[in-house]
Symmetry: C2
């Protein structure tokens, strides 16, 4: 179904919260309350995000989390990678591709290009847009350009 995991979804929500309060340090408990998510789950996701360098943390009393860098520098692709590892649409696209029928089918290569194209598109979407902080409605320039197919359209 070409879906992302719930964890990744949660991660986006939490990152959006953090992006909305760039100067404050938020604890896992606070974020859980704000997001209406279970505390242990939130904690798990945040730990993962920390490990992948998307958030920075402070230990101890009065500790908490904050974004490791400005929201504009965090992309959808990075979030996906952090939670689910580098994406590969099909098995054959993985690192050690050992597809037995690769020589004859040629399909793998085609999917890989789809893969790459989607990935690059996701790299153009930042947390600012995902969090809806941009002031203007979310806008995926590249993808929309693709969809319009060159037709000029205003607003």
């Amino acid at each position: 179904m070409l879906r992302i995991s719930k964890m990744t979804d949660y991660a986006t929500v939490l990152l959006a919260r953090l992006a909305a309060a760039p100067d404050r340090q938020l604890t896992a408990t606070q974020l859980a309350a704000q997001s209406h998510l279970a505390a242990p789950t939130v904690s798990k996701v945040l730990k993962q995000l920390h490990r992948r360098g998307l958030v920075s943390s402070t230990l101890g009393l009065r500790g908490g989390y904050r974004l490791a860098r400005p929201a504009a520098e965090i992309t959808a692709a990075q979030i996906l990678d952090a939670l689910e590892g580098p994406m590969a649409l099909i098995e054959c696209a993985r690192a050690t591709h050992q597809c037995s029928i690769e020589s004859t089918c040629g399909v793998g290569r085609a999917w890989q290009r789809v893969n790459l194209a989607i990935r690059r598109s996701l790299q153009e979407i930042t947390l600012v847009e995902l969090a809806g902080l941009g002031g203007e409605p979310v806008r995926f320039a590249a993808l929309e350009r693709a969809l319009r197919g060159g037709r000029a359209e205003r607003t």
Copy 2:
């Protein structure tokens, strides 16, 4: 990991085979042999493809499968839909979206747009390209347009 299921991968391979022999009727066994896949699995996938109207079948002795319509009229999006149902990147994008935090998060909406954009891109990719039958290398016009970002690039 944003991946498609093996079944969908198999489906693409099988459809590519059928596309390569548009005038012949191929049995599940023949396709299995050509693709180096297990016969029961191939059969299962073909049945699914038939149910979703991507291939037509002939029963009985000397029966078999063929494409229901020209390869150029079968898109990657249709194949994905056939095997996995309409794609929804996140839970909230599903038919009965009952996300408890939808009002406050806004993230769901953003992902939905990503979802839609990817989907439309997949609709521009036909089986001709996936099967590598086009003569020229696979070309995803819309997606590449998106990636170039308006920069002119030759070949």
